[in-house]
């Protein structure tokens, strides 16, 4: 029944999906945190930049960003990401695009987490004589972090699914392989089922676990 899988590296394709996901998740967490820091900073210019970044990136399809990274950045501006081999280059460009795109959402998740902490908490902390660092470290961030787990989990799951967009520039991940297989093999439904199962395996447990964690950690107010 599953003979059609022969000759295709399905696991390899999903491994590529996982690699894209993990690297992009780390990257967008870093960039997103930076942006969030800007968006809540006391400096208007930084706030403005953060807001502009989020509003622009959030409203562009990821497909455009990924295609542009290859057609524009690599082909015309010669940004080769330190790779001469096109397969490696495509992978790195995809990670870069995924980071740029999801950083906007990470930023929003973090910012909303910080916003859940009532101003009164910080005021009370200052009233009992805690300094800026202590307020942040002991009072604000622990609460913000808890509120951020679920929104961040949502971004992670969306990111996992969005790695398929890398197929637009030919990165050899799951969606690319599925397209090839569907063109060559007759068992359309079975092929789709295999790949759907793969993504369910990748996203559902993550969602359930982080959802549970988020609920557990949630600050009851």
């Amino acid at each position: 029944m599953f003979d059609f899988l022969q000759g295709y590296d399905v696991l390899g394709a999903f491994w590529m999906t996982v690699k894209l996901t993990v690297l992009s998740a780390l990257g967008s967490l870093v960039l997103g945190t930076l942006l969030a820091a800007m968006r809540v900073s006391p400096i208007p210019l930084m706030r403005g930049f953060g807001t502009a970044y989020v509003n622009i990136v959030r409203n562009i399809p990821l497909t455009i960003i990924i295609l542009f990274s290859s057609l524009g950045l690599a082909d015309i501006f010669g940004v080769s990401m330190g790779a001469s081999d096109f397969a490696v280059q495509g992978f790195r460009l995809a990670v870069l695009s995924l980071v740029v795109y999801h950083a906007a959402f990470v930023c929003e998740a973090l910012r909303s987490g910080i916003n859940t902490v009532p101003v009164g908490q910080a005021e009370a902390a200052r009233a009992i004589g805690l300094g800026f660092g202590q307020t942040l470290r002991l009072i604000v961030l622990p609460q913000a972090f808890r509120a951020v787990v679920v929104p961040l989990a949502n971004v992670l799951i969306a990111l996992t699914k969005n790695t398929t967009v890398a197929a637009a520039i030919g990165v050899a991940e799951a969606a690319t392989l599925m397209k090839t297989m569907m063109e060559n093999e007759a068992q359309t439904v079975l092929i789709a089922a295999v790949f759907a199962f793969g993504f369910v395996v990748l996203t559902l447990p993550t969602g359930l676990f982080l959802g549970w964690l988020g609920k557990r950690l949630a600050v009851k107010r």
């Binding site: 082909d75 989990a153 063109e183 959802g211 988020g214």
Partner: protein, 303 residues
Amino acid sequence: MDRVPVRGAPHVDGPYFTQTRRMFTMKLRNAATASAAVLALAVTATACGSSDKNDSGSSGGGNIKIGIKYDQPGLGLKQPDGSFAGFDVDVATYVAKELGYKPSQIQFVETKSADRENAIARGDVKFIAATYSITDERKQKVDFAGPYLLAHQDLLVKANSTIAKGTDLNGKKLCSVTGSTSAQNVHDTIAPKANLKQYSGYSECIAALQSGAVDAVTTDDSILAGFASQDKYKGQFKLAGLKLSNENYGIGLKKGDTALEKKINAALQKMVSDGSWNKAVTKNFGPAEYKNEPAPKIGVIVK
């Protein structure tokens, strides 16, 4: 997208309760107006979308539907003013004229490579002239009239490039279209060590060639010549002239429609004999130093 309740959806527990209780006087009217607006927009969209569906099919209303490519300069290109130009378009127009259709009765339909057999089988188009190589595999699904052009897989390189034969490609950067036979050929036989970049369309490859991101683009010489002779690329590129394969372009039509096949073959023969064929070749491929093969004999396929 968000997975748990979604933004906009308030938390289930918590003080939201007190708030909702207060909105007893529902702002339902506003909500309804807004959703009605969205709905109206969508309904108009559907209505208009389906209205141009009426005249589908091949023989309706005295029009003829012909499948071509939209994105291949020199063969089939949708121009900025909405008209179509290219060698395939000229051939299709000539054949349609011989079948008794005026140019105004021709409706060109885009048939992408992967869709060609299906479009013919379902009768979406009467025939297809879209860089359609005659192969044994395709012959099982559709019939072919022609061939009307003999093309070869070739390389397009920069005018000052030193690439002169297939093996020169090893270690070089090459661009072709995803899943194309040209890409496969390079990979399997011509230059297995070439660094291959694949895009969904040739224009992307040409842009990469122009900027120097790749060293060569490979596909049929007719397609490459079409790009190279566009005004904006004139003088920048040359064909390597390698004849890496033989591609016999035919006109695809419904399997078993021998009457139509005969008529189209007769039209193609007339096109060659009255000189229109040569004129079309010069007009469309002229400036690219493209040494076209002489007009192929109908029914003779060069392997």
